[in-house]
């Protein structure tokens, strides 16, 4: 037997028809997640062909991108940003009902950001193929899934056939050795990986993350790492399941229960790259050298350790980015004043993320003039956080506590950063205007975002942590 990578094992198990010179592989999709923004035109296409969703039992929908995160008024009216946003939500409600697709809508106990609720409910399971009309679908790779974002045409293909026509990508293994320093998180690992690979260094590849640092990360941290694969151009990034994966999923609503779970777990634990598996590219990163990171430019690969300050531009693209950001090469990160802090999103809107932020916020207050917004990734996260009293810590610190949604990450629901304002955000993209026209975004971890809210400038969170000596 030829040694196989994790990716190859999962890929091979889902090939309905192998690829040839003139035809792509027909790849089976185990789980299709749907949200309101990239699905309406796909449902219209099915309707035009007189088709229904072929496997509603493998299709799950939620509302996250364009929904308000403010509470409804006394009459139950939700404060939609536009009538069109409301219409979009109603369109998904209608499409789901007409096709027998389970929608985690406003009345569901687990509505939330699509990449938060999939794993949370155990819809995401090791060895699955998972797709969604959203580029951060790579998140689910943390469970040993081949998970990738697709366009609306392909959403239609999956709704109609449960399959996609796909060419097999190349493979790349990123091994992160060593041990993370105290105060360094999955987000810092991800931003370091992207800075190492470059914005398009992963284009055409399926990534596998490996090494002691990845093993040591909790599942939330692994999800953050896989989530950001697309920011290096890779459609999917995956991590082999281990005992941590098995324990994290145990008892969740959609996973097998009882004895059947143990059987499934045994199969999951076999999902790993064989010794001697060959990758098209291999990269090694020293995890012990990773420090809390913050971006300084307008693409996610333009990041650097906070302690190193703002780098001096070495080319025109970097100059342009610094100019847009209003930052000066050589400055320390405490020079530029922060206006907004956003904690949430499919990248960092989970319990572990909110706990990390709360640890910094506890007993402190956001700096004068800073608007801080904390948005849980799902209803489950909201309820759990409120049980733990995290909401109180945030509001006592002067931050807003909202209902779950994508919110200020994509800024299409009315939550946005004003023109010219500088935001520190736990989200995934610092593109020009991503968080609102003219907005300027610094990407960082939840701890760094919270520390920056307190300090009023981009701040290394370790100064606010009671760190045990390593």
């Amino acid at each position: 037997m030829t040694a196989k990578s994790l990716f190859e094992k999962v890929w091979d198990a889902h090939v309905v028809e192998p690829e040839g010179a003139t035809s792509p592989a027909v790849l089976y999709v185990d789980l299709h997640l749907v949200h309101e923004v990239t699905s309406p035109q796909a449902f219209s296409e099915l309707e035009a062909r007189g088709l229904k969703v072929r496997r509603p039992d493998r299709t799950f929908a939620t509302l996250d991108h364009s929904i308000p995160t403010l509470r409804p008024d006394a009459q139950g009216n939700r404060p939609y940003v536009t009538e069109q946003a409301k219409k979009q939500v109603e369109t998904l409600e209608r499409n789901a009902a007409n096709n027998g697709v389970r929608l985690f809508g406003y009345d569901a106990e687990n509505r939330g950001v699509v990449h938060v609720i999939g794993p949370e409910m155990g819809l995401t399971q090791p060895g699955y193929t998972v797709v969604c009309g959203d580029s951060h679908t790579s998140t689910h790779g943390a469970f040993g899934c081949i998970a990738f974002g697709i366009g609306t045409s392909e959403v239609g293909h999956v709704l109609a056939t449960q399959c996609l026509a796909q060419r097999k990508p190349k493979t790349m293994r990123i091994t992160i050795d060593g041990k993370l320093q105290p105060g360094v998180t999955g987000k810092d690992v991800a931003l370091t990986v992207i800075a190492t690979l470059g914005f398009s260094g992963g284009t055409g590849y399926a990534l596998e993350y490996a090494g002691d640092v990845i093993r040591d990360l909790d599942m939330e941290g692994r999800m953050t790492v896989c989530n950001l694969s697309i920011e290096a151009g890779a459609r999917c990034g995956m991590i082999a399941p281990d005992q941590k994966t098995v324990e994290w999923l145990r008892g969740r609503e959609y996973v097998p229960q009882g004895e059947a779970y143990e059987t499934a777990a045994q199969q999951w634990l076999a999902l790993k790259s064989d010794d001697g598996a060959v990758f098209d590219k291999e990269i090694r990163i020293d995890g012990s050298a990773i420090e809390p990171m913050a971006t300084w430019g307008t693409s996610p690969d333009q990041g650097a350790p906070i302690v190193k300050g703002v780098p001096v531009a070495t080319n025109e693209d970097q100059e342009r980015a610094l100019k847009y950001m209003g930052l000066h090469g050589g400055d320390s990160r405490d020079v530029a004043k922060v206006d907004v802090v956003f904690i949430g999103s499919c990248t960092n809107g989970r319990m572990a993320d909110l706990r990390a932020a709360a640890e910094i916020f506890k007993g402190r207050h956001v700096a004068e003039g800073v608007r801080a917004l904390v948005v849980p990734g799902s209803e489950w996260v909201r309820i759990e956080a409120e049980k733990e009293g995290l909401d109180k810590i945030f509001t006592d610190a002067g931050a807003e506590w909202r209902l779950p949604g994508c919110s200020m990450c994509i800024a299409m629901n009315g939550d946005f950063v004003l023109p010219g304002q500088l935001a520190v955000s736990t989200s995934n993209r610092n593109f020009e205007g991503r968080q609102g026209p003219g907005s300027r975004t610094v990407l960082a971890s939840p701890a760094t975002a919270a520390a920056s809210a307190i300090a009023g400038h981009v701040a290394d969170p370790r100064q606010f942590m009671a760190l045990e000596s390593a």
């Binding site: 309406p40 045409s153 299409m412 991503r434």
Partner: protein, 196 residues
């Protein structure tokens, strides 16, 4: 997304946006994604590069050209990175573009473009430089022979995934192609314990 008009050969003048990493948020900002159709997105293509906050025009090339005359967009490296929104090719096509050229084109944007008949052409640095050296030029793109011809006589042979190329040349409908395979899909589900 279905039954595309077959694409084969066409000639057009180019329009150049030399910035690298033009992401799909630039091509169409997220606040325009609440639409439930594909129609009419050309007017918000590159919205924040084209218009001031009050709606007036910025000094930007897409406000200065006749879209009918400029159907080929030449852009800096890593065009279409970021979000998977298919609204990006929809917006570019509704504006009037029929092809995009760059030294590197992001995966999902490339896949989305091909499904809509917007031809993504990846060129080498030398060809890219020649395009930039004469940003007013007319180019010819032949999908049958996979050739991009520049005004100076340069002919660049580009690559397009073969199935996507056949779909574009013959107007094959990719969803229909998958639907024809439903018997094999059902067989796969039965054999792998995945039947409903």
């Amino acid at each position: 997304m279905s039954n595309q008009e077959p694409v084969n050969t066409f000639s057009s003048r180019i329009v150049v946006l030399p910035e690298a990493n033009i992401d799909t948020d630039q091509i169409i900002p997220a606040r325009f994604l609440t639409t439930t159709t594909k129609a009419g997105l050309g007017k918000v293509a590159f919205n924040d590069w084209r218009y001031n906050a009050d709606g007036s025009d910025k000094d930007f090339i897409l406000n200065q050209i006749d879209a009918q005359e400029h159907q080929v967009l030449v852009a800096g490296n890593n065009l279409g990175c970021g979000s998977s929104r298919e609204h990006a090719p929809w917006a570019l096509m509704d504006y009037g573009f029929k092809a995009v050229i760059s030294t590197e084109i992001a995966d999902i944007f490339k896949s989305n473009s091909l499904k809509n008949g917007l031809l993504p052409v990846v060129v080498d640095k030398a060809t890219y430089d020649k395009l930039l050296a004469n940003p007013q030029q007319r180019v010819t793109i032949n999908l049958e022979s996979c050739e991009l011809s520049l005004e100076d006589g340069t002919v660049f042979h580009f690559q397009v995934e073969e199935f996507a190329r056949q779909c574009l040349l013959e107007g094959v409908d990719a969803m229909g192609w998958l639907i024809k395979r439903l018997p094999q899909i059902e067989q796969y589900e039965q054999s792998n314990g995945k039947a409903a």
